[in-house]
Symmetry: C2
């Protein structure tokens, strides 16, 4: 049996680590969520900060999440999924399909950054309360322009995938579940948490995005994960935060 | 001879397209900078907007730059470089080195987004003048925290590459020029344009980043490109903009 993958991510939020967790969980892959483990077993926060801070790490990731697999230390959510995709059976086989799936994931990453900046437009080292006025303006722009634009793009991708014709549960690429599908599922979850009003309005224009979300939700291993304690609830420290002043 | 690559990007700025241009130019690869060509030859802006807007495009990029190579249509700067790297001889051969180069490129992409948001923290659809106060705050945070943090990371990457020992012109990965080196060169160029004061101060802590920049500058094909009309000068519409109120 293979050594479990080591996922390193902040232990109290879903954040960007969740996109990796969903892939590992959906595939039933053995992994350790290191920072949530006990320090006396070599886990916990010290194991995580080692990779970010120790000069002995030859190829240090800039930030979390990071994946350790044998001698490989890999940061950047989309790069981790690029690496895991074929190993977890969560991406098609050909180069063109893999690049397309990766391209979608990178666009999801861009969207996630914009979601984050809707509550932290001035600086991630400052509290929300220190940038509330700017956040109100940025969130309004996000709700009015960026949210519908990104969702319309995901909808178009689903609509133009010829393999989705006649299917109740569409996929972003080809006929099979991919890591990008799981990530889009997570976006829907997060948007519903953070922007219940604005996202409900926006989703009315994107029935295929909602159908994908509903389809992914029925995935057995994923449903078991979502019902487990391994799934950290959304909260006010993550990427998706519910500030009523930013919704509407 | 192979068909030239088609690069599609806004014709009047360096922007994110420049990271692709530098790779194509350094490799001496045949390419067409489509949006800058004549409409009566099927080029110009209509050719670009086709890929972004026409429902007939099965796999539409969300934004520019995009690359067309035969039947492949590919968006996302880092994905384009992932694809071009091996074809242009601008990345090492092994999977670990390729992932590491890609990871660095994705971190550069994150940095570029933060540079952009230093002058557009509220919305990319608004003028700078409509968000000047927020930009002043965000740029101050950028200069104080983010700029030194990113540069220190690039410096550490160069310092920890064992192949750089005793070399005047270091590389980010292994012993050879990669597309990530070209992109870091471009970051130095852009930072010097946009933040002459803050970047000069920050670069004092990162001699290896400056040595990489100086080394790349001596690359023959690249030097010829930089001296040519194909290199669009920095200006106030691109990612890197010089607003004295944001420097200091």
């Amino acid at each position: 049996m293979r050594k479990p993958y080591q996922l390193h991510y902040w232990p109290s939020i879903q954040g960007r680590g969740e996109f990796i967790r969903l892939a590992l969980e959906a595939a039933g892959a053995p992994y350790v969520d290191v920072a949530r483990g006990p320090e006396d077993a070599g886990q916990g926060m010290p194991a995580l900060t080692h990779y970010l801070q120790d000069a002995s790490v030859a190829r240090p990731p800039f930030a979390c999440p990071l994946l350790v697999d044998g001698t490989l230390v890999l940061g950047q959510t989309a790069a981790i999924l690029l690496y895991l995709g074929p190993r977890l059976g969560l991406v098609a086989a050909g180069e063109a399909d893999r690049l397309w799936t990766h391209q979608i994931q990178l666009t999801i990453a861009d969207f996630v950054t914009e979601v984050h900046d809707s509550h932290h437009p001035i600086g991630s080292g400052l509290y929300y309360e220190e940038q509330r006025a700017a956040a109100k303006r940025r969130a309004a722009d996000f709700r009015r322009h960026r949210l519908p634009k990104f969702l319309a793009w995901f909808e178009a991708v689903l609509e133009r995938n010829p393999k989705n014709k006649g299917r109740a549960a569409p996929h972003l690429v080809g006929v099979k579940l991919s890591y990008a599908d799981l990530s889009l599922f997570q976006l829907v979850e997060g948007l519903r948490y953070a922007f219940p009003k604005a996202s409900e309005r926006a989703f009315k224009q994107t029935p295929r995005v909602l159908a994908l979300h509903a389809g992914v939700r029925q995935h057995k291993r994923l449903a078991a994960y979502l019902a487990s304690e391994r799934r950290i609830p959304f909260n006010q420290q993550g990427i998706f935060r519910r500030y009523p002043a930013l919704d509407g």
